[in-house]
Symmetry: C2
Subunit: 214 residues, 2 copies
DNA sequence: CTCACATGTTACTTGCGGTAACAGTAGCCT
DNA sequence: AGGCTACTGTTACCGCAAGTAACATGTGAG
């Protein structure tokens, strides 16, 4: 067969693909998630149909783009999660890693999580409806695995671990999103507060007495 | 003044508005969040510009639509949250209320949370990017208030309560979203697992020994 | 030289959000 | 009555973005 030739051509195609993704990245980071295919093609120095030949449709481009960032973030999280340290330390390190990532590149984060919120007249963005889930889901599954591997939860551990994995990721995500918007405290404080929550401080706290009237 | 006349006209306008919202509701529930303004107008028996006169733009229609459902859900949550019962009971009741709501009307839920995921060719949906936050945010703020009112957290209670409010809501949301998709267990089990997480079972559990190799 | 193939283009269709300009209708004011 | 305002409704259009068809061009293999 022509495998050797194929590989050569394939390599060139892959390089092109990577270049296109980087161009897309630049545009998305500059113009927000509302970036149009035309704009991306222009940034890459080519025209639309080529993008479509490479990625099928806009969702494909988005998926490829998201996968890059998602993979990178997941790797960082895995490192923090799998470190040989006390559980609380690991939890705090993981929370901090995530928050540091979204703090450092809020544009990327918003692109991954929140679809069209670009410019004033950009009402249609990437259809992240089906794609924003994956990041959260993948993080949830990853965390679930680690929990089940390393925490002794008795019977039903598999199910419990999955519920907790997704729940904790959701907590991290929502709190991070809110924090990124309002910046009501430092990152370290946020990490500490969330870890405290996970450590049962809600259950341990007493009822408030002398509260409002009743 | 012409207040009396105005009220009469206003009433008619309000009735129309409500009718339009109900039509929009039907269409969104049927066609998913990718419903077009034309489709909504047709369902209401009128044409597009009228929708725009009433709601300004698509975001306005969405916001009005979302507000109805959000208000209803928030009211139910408030009731569970403010009940005169033990804290754990209240937490479980609130979780269950939320999960029951999204279980009963997944279409509404997906519309509120996830934008365009409609039909196969519907790539642009409502720009929920800026509107899905509100529901989560409002729930988070609501919960924050209740936490601060009723739980004794010592100094920094305000900040801590807000972090926890948003975090817990995010946990509930993410776990609910995942659960709704996979249905890995009953609602009661999910509620119990999440409450256990909030009650510090993660911190209380021991390390797993004899785990994978290390 | 020519065939096959990959790369690139221009020019188009479709469909949606949003708007302008026009038409009919009900009540009030003098 | 007749006209003024204000609301409801329409058709017909613009702009823009996704996605596609058809055409052009370079390049290595036989």
């Amino acid at each position: 067969m022509d495998t050797t030739q194929r590989t050569e051509q394939q390599r060139s195609a892959d390089r092109r693909r990577r270049e296109l993704l980087e161009a897309a990245d630049r545009v998305v980071l500059r113009d927000g998630p509302g970036a149009s295919m035309n704009a991306i093609a222009a940034e890459a120095g080519i025209t639309k149909p080529i993008l479509y030949r490479h990625f099928g449709d806009k969702g494909g481009l988005y998926a490829a783009l998201a996968k890059r960032h998602t993979d990178a973030l997941l790797e960082a999280l895995r490192a923090a999660l799998d470190a040989p340290a006390e559980r609380r330390e690991r939890v705090e390190a993981t929370l901090d890693t995530y928050l540091a990532a979204i703090e450092a590149r809020p544009q990327v984060y918003r692109f991954l999580m929140h679809p069209s919120e670009g410019g004033p007249q950009s009402d249609q963005g990437f259809d992240v409806g089906l794609h924003s889930a994956p990041l959260l889901r993948r993080m949830g599954e990853e965390l679930s695995k680690v929990i089940e591997e390393r925490v002794d939860l008795g019977p039903d551990s598999a199910q419990l671990a999955r519920v907790w994995g997704h729940g904790i990721v959701g907590m991290m995500h929502a709190a991070g999103d809110w924090w990124l918007g309002e910046r009501p405290c430092s990152r370290a404080e946020l990490v500490r507060s969330l870890a405290d929550l996970l450590w049962g401080r809600l259950a341990a706290a007493g009822d408030k007495v002398g509260g409002p009237s009743f």
